[in-house]
Amino acid sequence: MSDVMAPLDGARFDGLVTVEALPAQGQITLRCEVSDDYRAKLSGLLGLAFPEPRKAVSDGDRALLWMSPDELLLLLPYDEVPEMLARLEETFPNWILLAVDVSDARAHFRLSGAPLRDVLSKLVPADMAPGAFVPGDVKRSKLAQVAAGIWLRGPEEAQLFCFRSVADYAFRVLATAAEPGGEVGFHGT
């Protein structure tokens, strides 16, 4: 709908890497104590494997990201959220489980380009080295002064998310770090 406006939707910076603000992303926070039953039922519902700690699993436009020992973040198309919440309710009746729509609470960016790890290393204290951060990993850390999650989707592509109120800040610091001339050549390209 035209009423929907994701933070910075469409903003783009082309530098050492390309930074793109993604359109509205459906997001559901799931909190539940993990059990075999929970794993099985959730995987059955979503058609996605249950992610290992600090990992993501994805298939097409759906992904399940491990956020903490009792929290997952489900990514799906924005318009499918209400239906998914209803199906979660059906799948887990009377469970001690929190499933809530957070699609509007976070901004997502796609970062792509060869010096991806070098650019992120300017802002993120966590280890961005190829041996410590492999495709499929999700790191929750800091992006300069704000909290951010980084899902490495490929050798040269990451999806970064942060609270929507700091989307503008995140975009600006990413663009600053990706400014041409700031090549570091540390992680190799």
Partner: protein, 1011 residues
């Protein structure tokens, strides 16, 4: 004179001339020069003035230890004071100026201080400027301010135009220092399989070895360096970084590196400095050693230099500091300088060797070149003022009786070498006194230890006190093997074969001559930049300063920008002698990071301008911007304070917004309010602990105002709690409090009641929240359509879910203004559009967006408290007349027990009241109500204070809230409050009179909000 030699200069490229200016004069140098070498090549020996006496100062060293050759570099937006000429790479168009002189470098008025030197001994400032106190403001401070400071600060209005950035690196092994020890360590550890980062502060690899000579693996040191660097560059697990200094080592192997990316090519694309934030498992500090000066009278006269520096200028840059150089030493190494100078065709009239028997093989080599060597001799004093003209020699064992005057224009001095132990010491490594070499060196049995309790930093080469080339390389190999093994790599030591001249033992010389008379000691400088002399340290000792740390502060020894790199050991040896206490017992001062100064820009990194700090934006922020909002910072949010029309004053805008809202219709962006979802079978029980009120009994569909206290009983946050369903509540918090309250809830759930079945989620940013306020609020929502918002369907303090004008919405019927009011939460992505719909549909009622100030005034008119105004971390809800919100039925809640403490329960706590000035004016914010008498400190007694104060356009007068002792029992009483501008020494203060009234100024019965 100092000049460029006809040939030589292994680092310079004579085919590339470079133009630069110093003090406005144009000079030329060569590519590869430092500013210092280029100035010396142009016979510019005098480079600045010292800090205290404004004595003439020339280049002393050739590297990071330089205390004198500090210049102001660049101009305008690139000006930076206190840059070391010795480490500044020359570039075309460089502009430098000397410092600390007026009116000119050659003629300086402040030099008169030097004439008064005997009246300005150690501790002069402390002694002289103590009394009388009144002199501080008008006499001492202005004088000290004018003469204090090193260099001049950049103009306050000028902004640095360069870019800076940080870089986080995680490495297994960091090697600091790219001399032969660092290179060998990198090679060995790299071969063992470790991930290595090797950083070197300078622009070249190899350190001193290519200048000092010797062979490694049968080849000249410079060739070995080139070969090794080439080898390292092919190793995938080794990274090399020039112009990157190891600035500091911190706990758990955290290291700051300071990379000067484009200092040598200003204006180049890219950041100027990059601050490396390195987290490593092992560190090898191959940081080399620094030559020590000798303490003799006149050792600060321009032309007196470290022996190694004179040789560096000849070998590296093809520059001679003088035509005739006297060498004075207590060790063999300085002979290398004599030999280099002689071979370059320069005169060396004499080598004064303080050792009674002189030196070893290098002495013989010097003699064979025809250089006169005088063992057992030293310098009584240096002749000359702005430039050395000669030396007067004496017996080292004597008191300074002159034996001979020898004309010369340079003096090369060497007091031995001190290992650079800074990085070792930064993180707790201890030092041992090595009497043979007269140095403090790292004590390997007391290394810095890391998170696992094992050593994580070792030194290599000269930094360990292994000075001879073969020892240096063997020590580096050993350090690399130890680090590699600690990282789990098998490694065996196989150091390269190295050969260099053997050296005779040095003789510790802390004063020259040994029994120098007072007038000589007063001219023997320890700290060149701060003008600390041997006599100053001796005076401090006589005055009872026994601790080296106290002596440092009293005399300012080692407190200049060079942090005592040259002066520390000499100074503490003089102190040790004066106290009759051995050097190791006197100890050293603390080595603190950074090793050499780093720029503020590098520390700030990207955090400047618009990204200095994160500014949080609501979904409607850009609409507020285009509506010309004036801003109020609330945490990291910027909320509209008001929306002034063109030409309208802010206070008029606030009044207009309040009147419009109270009379018709206003809207407020309330998206910043915290919204925390609490869900689970134990959620009600949990919220009963979090809030002072009973929340478990709140019916589904209803809202309740709640107070949250910390365990100390003090009011922490407030907000409306909403019962969403049988097992879920939504807790609204203050705008600044969302993250804190969420963390607070998680703390109690995770750490105290971990068996309670509750989940929380911070939904603050999921919703755009808009308050629709005023008598026409309902009309507006009914116009939008989609939900029944009538009094019957949606009474006060209830909520409903549905869609308004097609936008999914949750509507809360709550009010902080006393008017008919709805707060509407819509998905944040739709907030911008929904705000637009409200404005469009609200035109009929002259809808007016209002800001935080109107919100505050309307709250205050109703007597509603504000967290942070009425509460300040010492206030309990009972102080604020909020006892009604404290459940009497609950056995427990956070803060309940603390509120029973005697101090909380006493009956004379200051309590909330309303205040009205007798003349209708607005009380000053924070003003105190005066009580008779004075307290033990002579201050007037007080009996209350103003916590929030506004002009009420509704009541057309000033209104205020405040806390007053026994306040609620004193209705109608008039108190005197301190006026805005107060002189607290005045016995008859100006007072503003105000009457104690009810804090509810507007619609006390709540008729308007309940319609």
């Amino acid at each position: 004179m100092s000049t460029r030699l006809a040939k030589g200069g292994r680092l310079t490229d004579r085919s590339k001339q470079i133009g630069f200016t110093f003090n406005g004069k144009r000079f030329t140098g060569f590519a590869g020069d430092t500013l210092a070498s280029a100035l010396l090549a142009n016979d510019q020996m005098l480079l600045g003035r010292s800090f205290k006496y404004h004595r003439p100062r020339g280049v002393v060293a050739s590297g990071a230890e330089e205390p004198n050759a500090l210049v102001g570099l660049g101009q305008g937006a690139r000006f930076e004071p206190d840059q070391r000429a010795t480490t500044t790479e020359l570039f075309d168009g460089l502009v430098a100026d000397s410092q600390n002189h007026w009116p000119s470098l050659e003629f300086d008025v402040g030099e008169v201080n030097a004439k008064l030197a005997r009246f300005l001994p150690a501790g002069f400032y402390y002694k002289t400027f103590l009394w009388p106190r009144a002199f501080w403001k008008h006499l001492y401070e202005p004088v000290i301010r004018r003469s204090a400071g090193l260099g001049k600060a950049p103009h306050p209005e000028v902004r640095d135009i360069d870019r800076y950035e940080h870089f986080h690196a995680h490495v297994d092994l960091l090697i600091v220092g790219g001399g032969v020890a660092g290179l060998q360590a990198a090679k060995a550890a790299g071969a063992a399989g470790a991930q290595v980062l090797l950083i070197e502060q300078g622009a070249h690899w190899g350190g001193r070895a290519p200048v000092d000579g010797g062979t490694i693996d049968g080849m000249a040191a410079a060739d070995w360096v080139a070969r090794t660097v080439a080898e390292l560059e092919t190793m995938e697990n080794v990274r090399l970084r020039l112009r990157c200094m190891g600035a500091g080592v911190y706990d758990h192997g955290y290291v700051l590196g300071y990379e000067r990316v484009t200092d040598h090519k200003p204006g180049a694309h890219g950041p100027r400095h990059r601050l490396w934030r390195i987290r490593c498992k092992q560190i090898v500090a191959a940081t080399g050693a620094i030559e020590r000066p000798l303490s003799f009278a006149g050792n600060d006269v321009p032309g007196v230099m470290l022996a190694s520096a004179l040789r560096d200028y000849v070998v590296n840059y093809g520059v001679s500091a003088g035509d005739r150089t006297v060498v004075v030493t207590n060790n063999d190494d300085a002979y290398r300088t004599a030999i280099v100078l002689k071979k370059a065709g320069l005169a060396v009239p004499v080598i004064l060797d303080a050792r009674p028997l002189g030196g070893g093989a290098l002495m013989e080599e010097a003699r064979a070149l025809g250089i006169r060597v005088e063992p057992g001799r030293g310098i009584a004093k240096v002749l000359g003022g702005k430039r050395v003209t000669g030396v007067a020699t004496c017996l080292q064992a004597g008191e300074g009786s002159v034996l001979e005057e020898i004309p010369c224009d340079a003096v090369a001095m060497s007091g031995g070498w001190s290992p650079v132990v800074h990085l070792w010491s930064h993180c707790g490594g201890k030092l041992a006194w090595d009497a043979e070499n007269a140095v403090f060196r790292p004590d390997p049995t007391r290394a810095p230890t890391g998170a696992d309790g094992a050593p994580f930093l070792g030194t290599a080469g000269a930094a360990s006190g292994a000075f001879h080339l073969s020892d240096t390389l063997a020590d580096a190999e050993k350090a690399a093997v130890a680090a590699a093994e600690a990282l789990g790599h098998a490694a065996t030591a196989a150091p390269p074969q190295a050969e260099a001249a053997s050296e005779a033992a040095l003789l510790p010389v802390w004063l020259m001559p040994q029994g120098a008379r007072a007038e000589l000691r007063m001219k023997a400088f320890l700290d060149y930049q701060n003008d600390v002399k041997v006599s100053d340290v001796q005076l401090a000792a006589r005055e009872g300063y026994e601790s080296v740390e106290h002596t440092k502060r009293y005399t300012t020894l080692g407190m200049a920008t060079d942090q005592g790199k040259l002066s520390n050991i000499n100074g503490l040896a003089v102190l040790s002698d004066a106290l009759g206490t051995p050097v190791p017992q006197v100890g050293t001062t603390t080595f603190r990071p950074p090793y050499t100064p780093i720029s503020f820009g590098a520390i700030a990194g990207e955090a400047r301008g618009e990204i200095f700090q994160p500014l949080r934006r609501t979904p409607m922020q850009d609409l507020h911007e285009s509506n010309h909002a004036a801003w109020e910072p609330v945490g990291q949010w910027r909320r509209p304070y008001c929306y002034p029309h063109p030409g309208e004053a802010k206070r008029d805008a606030v009044n207009r917004e309040i009147n419009a809202t109270r009379q018709s219709l206003g809207i407020l962006d309330a998206s910043t309010l915290g919204k925390i979802l609490v869900k689970g079978p134990d959620a009600g029980r949990f919220l009963d602990m979090m809030y002072t009120n009973m929340m478990s009994t709140l019916p589904v569909g209803k809202c309740r105002y709640g107070l949250m206290c910390n365990e100390n009983g003090f009011l922490m946050d407030d907000g409306v709690v909403v019962r969403l369903s049988e097992d879920s509540w939504l807790c609204h918090t203050t705008s600044g409090g969302a993250d804190h309250v969420h963390a607070h809830m998680e703390d109690w759930l995770q750490c105290e009641w971990w068996d309670w079945k509750v989940f929380t989620a911070n939904l603050t940013e999921q919703y755009a929240q808009i308050a629709v306020v005023g008598p026409n609020a309902r009309n507006l929502l009914e116009t939008l359509g989609g939900m029944d918002v009538s009094k019957e369907a949606l009474p006060f303090m209830t909520w409903a879910e549905g869609a308004l004008a097609g936008t999914p919405a949750r509507v809360y019927r709550i009010s902080f203004s006393g008017e008919l009011s709805y707060e509407i939460a819509v998905p944040a992505n739709r907030g911008r559009a929904f705000w637009g719909k409200l404005l469009e549909a609200g035109r009929a009622w002259d809808i007016t967006p209002y800001g935080t100030e109107a919100l505050h005034v309307m709250r205050a008119e109703k007597g509603f408290i504000m967290i942070g105004d009425e509460s300040d971390g010492t206030v309990i809800p009972q102080d604020l007349g909020l006892s009604w919100a404290i459940s009497k039925k609950k056995a427990d809640f956070l803060g309940k027990r603390a509120q029973e403490r005697t101090d909380m329960a006493r009956d004379d706590r200051w309590q909330l009241v309303g205040l009205e000035t007798l003349d209708g004016s607005v009380l000053p914010d924070g003003a105190y109500a005066i009580a008779p008498g004075r307290n033990a400190n002579g201050q007037r007694n007080t009996q209350g204070r103003v916590t929030s104060t506004y002009y009420s356009p509704t009541l057309k007068k000033g209104i205020a809230m405040g806390l007053v002792r026994h306040g609620p029992d004193r209705m109608g009483e008039v108190l005197g409050f301190t006026a805005e501008e107060q002189d607290h020494t005045d016995d008859k203060p100006t007072l503003v009179e105000a009457r104690i009234v009810s804090p509810v100024f507007y619609d006390p019965e709540g008729e308007k909000q309940n319609v």
